[in-house]
């Protein structure tokens, strides 16, 4: 593989990530019997927001103004650490998965501080829930990566995920299924989807992500929306690398498969959102601790079969 093709994966992410919310919305519209927004709606929104003016809260200061761009930068760099469609990530190095987790941590830290900078109770509430759920989600992600790292005998994200093949699924289907389901829960939780958060309503007192960016407007809001789409792409890619191991024949075959795979994940998310209700907030920690338990079970099984 030539070094230049490594950049294709992340560039695909930058380009196609806004498709995912479009697909999810179309699936939800289909279930509700509506026509729904165009699939490219998110692109229209982004272009519109970039050209718009911006309203700042009188309470907010520099933190609120800078945070969207720090969030977006951190998520973009995390994207460049994520291997896609069987190709190595361009910035990969040993131990990079830890940096990726903490880059997403910076994105969250900036977003939470921006929310608190408005002094709004709603945003404070969203921020408080965001930090609670992400603290519980972190062990699930890290222990899952440890499992794959022990399976592959490597510590780089590209190596870890590259070692998963169709053969691995034959060898340990149960463990990988446990990990896959836990990470699907994680994808829903980290990206503010049902059953953890409802992206459709942002003024209900029950909401998390949407309420945190309630006062963000114009290009700043665009940056936040784009960062959210990229984050969904990152978690989707993580899951897809696990459940659809694409060997290394040729990048030009893998990439279309990969993008189709990402879109099918979006369809699945849409289906889940259509047929499930949001959980009560008190139940969410149980869901996340449950996901961590699934991953740990996989790891214990690995100890046993060794």
């Amino acid at each position: 593989m030539t070094p230049s093709t490594m950049w294709i994966g992340p560039l695909c992410g930058l380009l196609f990530a806004p498709l995912l919310p479009g697909v999810i919305n179309r699936v939800k519209a289909f279930f509700a019997g509506r026509r729904g927004q165009p699939i490219l709606q998110a692109y229209h929104d982004l272009f519109k927001l970039v050209r718009k003016g911006v309203v700042y809260s009188e309470t907010s200061g520099g933190v609120f103004r800078f945070a969207p761009y720090l969030t977006l930068s951190a998520v973009i760099l995390a994207l460049f650490l994520m291997p896609m469609s069987g190709m190595r990530a361009p910035l990969s190095f040993q131990g990079d998965f830890l940096l990726m987790v903490y880059l997403l941590g910076i994105a969250r830290f900036a977003m939470v501080l921006a929310a608190l900078d408005t002094g709004s109770s709603f945003e404070g509430m969203g921020a408080s829930r965001e930090v609670q759920f992400s603290a519980l989600a972190e062990p699930c992600l890290l222990v899952g990566l440890l499992f794959l790292s022990a399976h592959s005998g490597r510590v780089g994200l590209s190596d870890i995920l590259g070692r998963i093949t169709a053969g691995s699924w034959q060898d340990m289907p149960a463990m990988l299924a446990l990990l896959g389901s836990a990470w699907f829960i994680l994808l829903l939780a980290e990206n503010a989807r049902i059953p953890v958060d409802d992206p459709n309503t942002h003024l209900e007192l029950t909401m998390i992500h949407e309420v945190m960016i309630l006062d963000t407007s114009g290009p700043d809001f665009g940056a936040m929306l784009y960062a959210a789409a990229l984050k969904l792409w990152i978690f989707g890619a993580l899951l897809l690398n696990l459940i659809l191991p694409l060997g290394p024949p040729s990048p030009w075959v893998q990439i279309p498969f990969f993008v189709i795979g990402m879109l099918s994940i979006a369809v699945t998310v849409g289906v889940v959102e259509s047929i499930m209700a949001r959980l009560r907030l008190l139940m969410v920690p149980k869901l996340l601790i449950g996901a961590t338990a699934l991953v740990t079970t996989a790891l214990i099984m690995k100890m046993a079969v060794r």
């Binding site: 970039v50 050209r51 003016g53 911006v54 309203v55 700042y56 809260s57 009188e58 309470t59 200061g61 520099g62 933190v63 720090l70 930068s73 951190a74 760099l77 650490l81 040993q94 131990g95 830890l98 940096l99 903490y102 941590g105 910076i106 830290f109 939470v112 501080l113 608190l116 900078d117 002094g119 709004s120 709603f122 509430m125 921020a127 408080s128 609670q132 992400s134 603290a135 972190e138 062990p139 890290l142 440890l146 790292s149 022990a150 005998g153 490597r154 510590v155 309630l214 006062d215 114009g218 290009p219 700043d220 940056a223 920690p285 961590t292 740990t296 790891l299 690995k302 100890m303 060794r306």
Partner: protein
């Protein structure tokens, strides 16, 4: 060596002179900090030399004391632990000079500086001691001088109570250490460290003595370091002490407990896997319990004190991982774990002092430590605010700051050292990645709360509304520390070089021994620094692109969206307690938070109140019952003490007669 002794002498003299200048506090506040700075500069050359060429000079002299000899020396481990002292002692002195310069403290300032300088001297001496007696003298010097520093504001009863708690705790801690050194010294026939190191090797295998000695050292040094459940003095002493004292105690002094523990493990046999697992278990327990207790606090300095417990947990975890690797011959575990643990000692010193300085600036500007009454301070105190936010990001282990580098080493060592996938390796992996991951997430929750509620939003009280930025002398140390936090994050390979001499001296392993298994750690850390730099560059680039968009001309301001509510007030903002409630509810069975107040009732509620308080579980479940028990057992002896002097004289007479009879009876 003479350089360091000269440095100590300068600092000691400075303290004495400051005491004599007590009537002119302004002058005392110049002399003492200047002497600390000068002394630190004087001590720097030999420390740098030891870190570069790994030399271990030693200096021994006889003294008139009946026990031990005056033996001091330097080795890479001591040199590494001296770095934070050399950086922080002058900065804390500089900050303190401005922090204390208030009228109503003037008569105490001279004595304060004497004890401050004695504390610095004690820490220096402790780290270079090569003899058990010198070590214990330095230990006691440190404990007593810091007690006087804690009770600076001794007109307040809670400060006096905190001081007593601290004094009692440090002496409970000193007792096992006395046993530890007395046993080793009597077996070896000398209190010299090299002599003591041979004792356990001579014991028959299977002897319980090394384990008992380890437990004594763990209790003694663990009390100073603040390991759960011996941490009870931290949340009392730190809020009570002046902020530069909290900074130096939390940033540097508690690390002497870690240093002592490592030194004690080196004096005993090479650490076994059981010792390592004990450290790992205590590390995770301290980490999680510390951060959860911190989340439940309303007082900003108390919150920071509990975070010291958390960070000591992370340090122990790193050391445990390293010692486990050492006992198993697993090079990656040993080197990455120990480097991570030791580097976290330095990192924690930097960001925790920064945070305490920030908290002190806030307390001085507003007179408040209760987070629920602060808010909106970033506008009023931008230097303090941005430094504090940098410190908050650093302690939450976020790149590009230093906290990430040390936690990364611990994480990475564990992951890279568990690749063979044996059950014990995977157990370690679950414990460290799951535990440290949870600690990291909770720390981020706690510091978004702390930084966000204090510095962002609207002020929640008139004190906060009228706050002013602090003096230049107090801003400068914060700025320097924030820059150092960033510098270690962006120069991670260099920071690794700083810690590797100490790691080599502990493990006997060179970093190049890793080359066979993984690409060099400095190279990996270089990638982290590179990507951190890229993050800053990208954010600035995006921000400057944003400045070119049409939004530049189309900016308007309006009140925060309040869902149409007509009369919002700052009191309606989310508070620190409400922010932390989801997490404290999750851990409520552990925290045991008391909630008092009158709930809102009826359609037009007249008055309602709410107050919550989280007691310290170590104090409540371990120490209070223990002391009550001791009290009950010893209560009958009180009969002897009734305040009548003639009876006391009778006791003396009886004792003397008894001794006389005994002596006569013993004669042949």
């Amino acid at each position: 060596m003479t350089h360091i002794l000269l440095g100590i002498a300068i600092i000691l003299t400075g303290g004495m002179v400051a005491l004599m200048l007590g009537r002119i506090p302004r002058l005392a506040s110049i002399v003492a900090p200047a002497s600390v700075l000068l002394g630190s500069i004087a001590s720097a050359p030999p420390i740098t030399r030891t870190l570069i060429d790994r030399s271990s000079p030693i200096l021994t002299a006889n003294w008139p004391l009946p026990l031990g000899r005056f033996s001091v020396g330097l080795d890479p481990l001591s040199a590494f632990f001296l770095i934070p002292i050399l950086i922080l002692a002058p900065l804390a002195a500089l900050y303190g000079a401005s922090y204390l310069n208030r009228e109503h403290d003037r008569h105490r300032i001279g004595a304060h500086w004497l004890f401050f300088n004695l504390l610095v001297v004690g820490m220096h001496l402790l780290l270079i001691a090569r003899d058990g007696i010198v070590f214990l003298i330095a230990w006691e010097l440190m404990a007593v001088s810091s007690f006087f520093l804690v009770v600076f504001d001794d007109r307040k009863s809670d400060v006096r109570d905190a001081g007593w708690t601290y004094l009692v705790a440090s002496h409970i801690g000193a007792a096992p250490l006395l046993l530890f050194f007395a046993f080793l010294g009597s077996r070896a026939g000398s209190f010299d460290f090299t002599g003591m190191a041979t004792v356990t090797a001579a014991l028959p295998s299977g002897s319980p003595i090394p384990s008992l000695l380890f437990i004594a050292a763990l209790i003694g040094f663990g009390t100073k370091a603040g390991i759960i459940p011996l941490h009870v003095w931290l949340p009392e002493a730190h809020p009570a002490a002046p902020s530069h004292i909290s900074a130096i105690m939390s940033g540097v002094m508690i690390k002497t407990g870690i240093y002592g523990l490592i030194r004690a493990l080196m004096l005993l046999d090479s650490p076994s896997a059981a010792v390592a697992w004990t450290l790992i278990g205590l590390g995770i327990a301290s980490g999680i319990a510390g951060v959860v207790l911190a989340l439940a606090q309303h007082d900003i300095k108390r919150l920071l004190a509990y975070h010291s417990v958390e960070n000591i947990g992370i340090i122990l975890l790193g050391l445990g991982v390293g010692f486990l690797g050492l006992s198993r011959g697993n090079t990656v575990l040993a080197i990455a774990g120990l480097s991570g643990g030791l580097l976290h000692v330095l990192n924690h010193a930097l960001f925790k002092s920064l945070l305490f300085f920030g908290a002190g600036a806030v307390a001085q500007a507003t007179g408040l430590r209760a987070m629920n009454r602060l808010g909106g301070l970033l506008r009023r105190m931008p230097w303090t605010g941005f430094s504090f936010i940098a410190g908050a990001a650093a302690i939450s282990a976020l790149p590009p700051f230093n906290g990430f580098v040390s936690e990364f080493l611990i994480f990475f060592g564990t992951a890279a050292g568990s690749l063979r996938g044996s059950p014990s390796e995977l157990t370690l992996g679950i414990a460290v990645l799951g535990g440290l991951g949870l600690i990291g997430g909770l720390a981020a929750a706690c510091f978004t709360k702390c930084a966000g509620l204090v510095f962002l939003g609207e002020p929640r009280s008139s004190e906060a509304r009228h706050a002013r930025e602090t003096s230049l002398l107090m801003r400068l140390p914060m700025l320097i520390l924030a820059i150092l936090c960033l510098a270690i994050g962006l120069g991670a390979p260099f920071a690794f070089r700083l810690v590797s001499p100490a790691v080599e001296s502990l493990t006997g392993l060179n970093e190049t021994a890793l080359a066979a298994t993984i690409e060099g750690l400095p190279a990996i850390l270089g990638r982290i620094s590179g990507i951190s730099l890229a993050l800053i560059a990208l954010a600035v680039l995006l921000w400057s692109l944003r400045r070119r968009l049409p939004a530049r001309h189309l900016e308007s301001a309006s009140p925060t969206w309040d869902c149409g509510y007509a009369a919002p007030t700052p009191r309606m903002q989310y508070t620190a307690s409400s922010f932390a409630t989801p997490l404290t509810l999750l851990f409520r069975s552990f925290l045991g938070t008391h909630i008092q107040g009158k709930p809102v009732e009826g359609d037009f509620p007249a008055d309602a109140s709410f107050a919550s308080h989280t007691p310290d579980f170590g104090r409540r479940w371990i120490f209070e019952p223990l002391f009550r028990g001791i009290d009950r057992v010893l209560a009958p002896i009180r009969l002897l003490q009734h305040g009548r002097i003639h009876l006391y004289i009778l006791y003396i007479a009886i004792t003397l007669v008894g001794l006389l009879i005994w002596k006569v009876g013993m004669m042949p």
